[in-house]
């Protein structure tokens, strides 16, 4: 396929990397990704699973990596999370001055730009890299592979004490007209390894940045990953995000996503439960306001027996926003004993807002337990009346119930300081009634 868009991507790629040739495997990977992208093109709104995404910004923005950014101050960043090492990337490039390195014998974080190929985490092995005939859903990861100049390669080994705690902060500062930001994470957990990972995407300033992030996750046998993702880019930003994960036998993956920012955000989450009894929780909150587009596609593949999935979505659409969650669960022919649950709920908070939740189940075996529930609606009227009948102001009661709605996901965030920051951020969009959660 050769469209004006792919032709432009190829041209910008040639211009960008003429001056910066890579040697060895990295160059090969980049060329392969570009070739695959040229062959297949980026998805269009005609592709299955892309009809809610806003792809129009692609016509205007530039694909070359953004030039080196103005240095940021630590005060431009969110408060540190106690106990977590922090690695900051500005417009995709590692910023050591803003980072607080990890001191652990169990884990290594290597900026990809500095990593000799041999040290790169096996997450970047061909099995994890999108194939040349990658499905449409993963083609933005090819774009990242073709253009990314830096990122984090993370490898965690098994150890007996506390889980490793790590925060990645990706800051976008460039305007899309000058170049793109390509956050990249290649994560590998060895057998029995444990990691708490916070991944943030935010802006410095109010630029209309273009961010295209790609994350690969490879969980070894019995490994545990709690992965908190917060997208809070500036109001005019465009972001495409692709996460591809493989979960081995007895491994446990808890993936929490909070998507609040950007003008136009698309997140593609593809998780393969490859080993027996792999255990996945995928919980996402998305808020849309003004004319925002928040589009999330989550595909979970059960490829082995006895694995478990819990998929939760809570979205609120206000203003003229469009919020969509398309949750697909595929149960393969080997995956007997699968237990999957989907609870997808959307809330309309304005007459011009739009929300779409779509559960999809494809089952190719017997003896599975798959349940799903999907609702879109307004606030629960009986709850609302109950609160009003106790004298609460309608506005307070409504806010309270919006919080109750989001709480299904937010309450699961186990890192107290992070939850506090997320609640504070959510409160800017959905004001929180005072002392809602006040304890005794």
């Amino acid at each position: 396929m050769s469209t004006p868009l792919t032709a432009r991507i190829v041209e910008e790629h040639a211009n960008a990397f003429r001056a910066l040739p890579l040697a060895g495997a990295a160059a090969t990977r980049r060329r392969t990704a570009l070739a695959a992208l040229t062959a297949s093109g980026l998805p269009t709104s005609r592709d299955e699973n892309w009809k809610y995404a806003n792809l129009r910004p692609l016509e205007r923005l530039r694909f070359i990596p953004a030039p080196a950014a103005q240095p940021l101050a630590a005060t431009d960043l969110p408060a540190a999370i106690p106990g977590f090492a922090r690695y900051v990337f500005v417009d995709g490039a590692f910023a050591p001055a803003l980072s607080a390195a990890l001191h652990s014998t169990a884990a290594a974080v290597t900026p990809l730009a500095a990593a000799p190929d041999g040290d790169r985490a096996p997450a970047a092995m061909p099995a994890q890299t999108p194939a040349p005939h990658a499905p449409a859903d993963e083609r933005f990861a090819l774009l990242n592979e073709a253009f990314a100049t830096d990122g984090a390669a993370i490898r965690v080994a098994a150890h007996h004490d506390e889980p490793v705690r790590l925060e990645l902060v990706f800051v976008a500062s460039a305007d899309a007209l000058t170049g793109a930001s390509y956050p990249r994470v290649e994560l590998h957990l060895d057998s029995q390894a444990q990691l708490l990972l916070i991944e943030r995407h935010m802006s410095a300033g109010a630029q209309a940045s273009f961010v295209n992030s790609a994350v690969t996750v490879d969980l070894g046998r019995g490994a545990t990953l709690h992965h908190y993702r917060l997208q809070e880019l500036a109001a005019r930003a465009t972001v495409f995000d692709t996460l591809i994960a493989t979960v081995a036998r007895d491994a446990c993956y808890r993936l929490y996503g909070i998507s609040i920012g950007a003008q136009s955000a698309r997140s593609t989450l593809a998780v393969r439960l490859a080993g027996e009894r792999a255990d996945l929780t995928l919980a996402v909150v998305a808020l849309g306001d003004r004319q925002q587009v928040q589009d999330i596609f989550a595909r979970v593949e059960h490829a082995a027996p006895g694995a478990r999935t819990e998929q939760i979505f809570r979205g609120i659409s206000a203003g003229r926003a469009r919020v969509a969650f398309n949750g697909k669960i595929v149960v393969g022919s080997e995956a007997h004993g699968t237990d999957s649950r989907q609870s997808l709920r959307g809330l309309l908070a304005g007459p011009e807002a739009e929300i779409d939740v779509r559960p999809q189940l494809e089952i190719y075996t017997d003896e599975v337990r798959c349940s799903h529930g999907a609702t879109v609606g307004k606030l629960d009227e009986s709850m609302l009346f109950y609160l009003l009948s106790r004298g609460l102001e309608p506005e307070v009661a409504q806010r309270l119930l919006k919080w109750v709605f989001l709480e299904d996901v937010v309450a699961k965030i186990g890192v107290a300081e992070l939850r506090r920051q997320i609640e504070e951020r959510l409160a800017q969009q959905v004001p929180e009634p005072a002392a809602r959660a006040e304890s005794t």
Binding site: E381, S382, M383, F385, Y386, L387, L388, S389, R390, G391, L392, E393, P394, V396, A397, L400, L401, W403, V404, E407, D408, A411, P433, A435, R436, A437, E438, S439, T440
Partner: protein, 256 residues
């Protein structure tokens, strides 16, 4: 005219329909302070509709009649305004609200009333003391405070929680909609004890109930029998006993 003051609640010729179906058909009823009224009646007679209309639940169309409370037009007030003026509805089916804890709701409700009266917010420490005292009366455990409103409560716990809220809010007019249904005898006594503790010359209580069981413990001053949306008969507590003995059919037939 008697010498007694203006009724706290005066319902006059009330007609209410739901989705085009007439439920209340010219109901007239007066409740004075210090009184406990029981409203009994067969299923579908309009008891719960009356309770909901008094609390301001949306979805009911008032086609004729008036309701005045403390001399003002109750029907003109929003549900939250009624609550702040001292009207309390104990729900037949209390709603579960996970994520909002009980103490938050109690405090928000009390402060809404205080604000209405121009009082400052309640002192948090004193408030907890008061709530704990009422909880003891209602046989509710301490852990309840930090739990979500009615979240995972048994039927009996939910009803006891309704009465607890009533005790903390100290309404002038309490309307309890089948608060006795689904309670075992011990829970019924606890609930009755709570209701009795609130009896005073300044307050009134309307008990909506299907059975007279609760009325053995909370003795009403006046018993009304509601049939097809209007009061078909009224009397003292012996009427409740008669209903228990004879059922509702004879009243229904008489009203026909």
């Amino acid at each position: 005219m008697t010498a007694s003051p203006t009724p706290l609640l005066a319902i006059n010729d009330l007609h209410v329909s739901v989705e085009g179906k007439q439920i209340l058909n010219g109901l007239t009823l007066q409740v004075r302070v210090g009184e406990v009224h029981a409203i009994m009646g067969p299923n579908g007679s309009g008891k719960s509709t009356l309770a909901h209309v008094l609390a301001g639940r949306p979805g009911y169309e008032i086609t004729a009649g008036t309701v005045s409370y403390e001399g003002c037009d109750l029907l003109a007030l929003a549900p939250e305004e009624r609550a702040r003026q001292g009207v309390f509805l104990g729900f037949q089916y209390p709603v579960e609200i996970p994520g909002v804890n009980n103490v938050y709701l109690l405090k928000a409700a009390v402060n809404a009333v205080r604000k209405q009266r121009g009082l400052p917010e309640v002192d948090a420490f004193e408030f907890l003391g008061l709530v704990r005292e009422k909880m003891k009366l209602m046989h509710i455990e301490d852990s309840f405070l930090s739990r979500g409103v009615n979240e995972g409560f048994s039927g009996g716990e939910k009803k006891r929680n309704e009465v607890l809220q009533m005790l903390v809010l100290e309404p002038r007019l309490a309307i309890l909609d089948e608060t006795d249904s689904g309670l075992d005898i011990d829970a019924l006594k606890v609930v009755a004890g709570g209701v009795n503790s609130l009896r005073s010359p300044e307050r009134a209580c309307v008990l909506v109930t299907h059975y007279q069981r609760l009325l053995e413990y909370v003795v009403p001053d006046i018993v009304h029998v509601l049939v097809r949306g209007r009061i078909a008969r009224r009397g003292d507590r012996t009427l409740a006993l008669e209903l228990e003995r004879r059922g509702y059919d004879w009243v229904t037939e008489e009203a026909a």
